[in-house]
């Protein structure tokens, strides 16, 4: 339809300013396009020509930079939730792998300091997992308490970066401590090597997600 170009241009300009989870982004843009088309049809019914109807619909929708800020805030919050869910899923996975290794492969030669490091790492992991679960459980309550979506996005971004820093430090501590107990174990033992590779892969994924949280609210 020849008269679609103004709405297409507007939605394209909005899309160019937005970043975030692709499913939600597509959903938001589809809804925006529907709303613009509904408004244009309403102006058409009121007797305006197609181009003027679209021009008015786009003008009513608001300036792209302002509307993009509001949409981006929603996307940033969704990214934060995605990070928290990933953290909740990945912490038990990494913990399980290292726990298995500690029991099956490095148990016999564990010095006291290694046990202390392992216990501290466990505690850090479970505190992070518990706080992530608490945030998800209290999510609706938090949304009601903090009405400003941009502030929610910033808080989610700050928590994500902090969490990934703390978790990354604790995971690296386990890897270094295991190397300290028996350096060859990290490379020679397939289960320990697997746990190390999975640990670095998990950390890479979490750093990427946390970085996105941070970038989306910037």
């Amino acid at each position: 339809m020849a008269g679609q170009s103004l709405i297409d241009d507007y939605v394209d300009a909005l899309a160019a300013r937005l970043r975030g989870p692709s499913v939600l982004l597509g959903d938001l843009l589809t809804e925006a396009r529907d709303g613009l088309q509904d408004a244009a049809e309403s102006y058409l019914d009121a007797g305006f020509d197609p181009e003027e109807a679209q021009r008015r619909a786009v003008a009513d929708f608001g300036p792209v930079p302002r509307i993009a800020r509001e949409y981006q805030a929603e996307l940033a919050v969704a990214q934060g939730v995605r990070f928290i869910r990933s953290l909740l899923l990945l912490i038990p996975l990494v913990h399980g792998l290292w726990e298995l290794n500690r029991l099956l492969w490095v148990d016999a030669s564990q010095p006291d300091w290694y046990r202390t490091v392992a216990q501290a790492t466990d505690l850090t992991s479970w505190v992070l997992a518990a706080s992530a679960a608490a945030i998800l459980l209290a999510f609706r309550w938090l949304a009601r308490l903090i009405g400003d979506t941009r502030l929610v996005g910033r808080l989610a971004g700050a928590w994500s970066v902090g969490a990934v820093g703390v978790y990354g430090f604790s995971l690296l501590t386990v890897v270094v401590a295991t190397a300290g107990v028996e350096p060859a174990l990290l490379l020679v033992s397939p289960p320990v090597l697997l746990a190390t590779v999975v640990t670095f892969a998990v950390m890479g994924r979490l750093v990427l997600l946390a970085r996105r949280c941070f970038v989306l609210v910037a």
Partner: protein, 112 residues
């Protein structure tokens, strides 16, 4: 009425518009304009993120449905949304009664 004046009331206005019915985004905007006699002047693009915020808060739920032969995202109040609307209405009545008592009473009687 300008957007800045509406900002603090937008959530309550949206909840009131959805009271007892399920509507898609543009129908909500039309209902807002109709009920306000066209006095509500806010960029319509701000309504959609506000609806998502209300959904995040658990006050509304949404789904893609077919309306007039087209797929549209429609919204309806949840139980929590109805409770929030009742509270907003009570707070608004209290506020307007207090303001009306001061602004609507005219000058003080002259001292004897």
């Amino acid at each position: 009425m300008k957007a800045d004046a509406l900002r603090g009331h937008l959530d309550a206005l949206l909840l009131a518009t959805l009271d007892g019915r399920e509507l898609h985004g543009y129908a909500i905007i039309e209902a807002l304009q109709l009920r306000s006699g066209g006095a509500l002047d806010l960029p319509t693009g701000t309504v959609y993120p506000a609806l998502r915020r209300l959904e995040r808060a658990g006050y509304v739920r949404s789904e893609w449905t077919t309306v007039s032969g087209r797929q549209r995202r429609t919204y309806q109040l949840t139980t929590a949304g109805r409770r929030a609307l009742t509270a907003e209405r009570a707070a608004w009545r209290e506020f307007t009664t207090a303001i009306e008592g001061v602004l609507g009473s005219g000058p003080w009687p002259a001292k004897a």
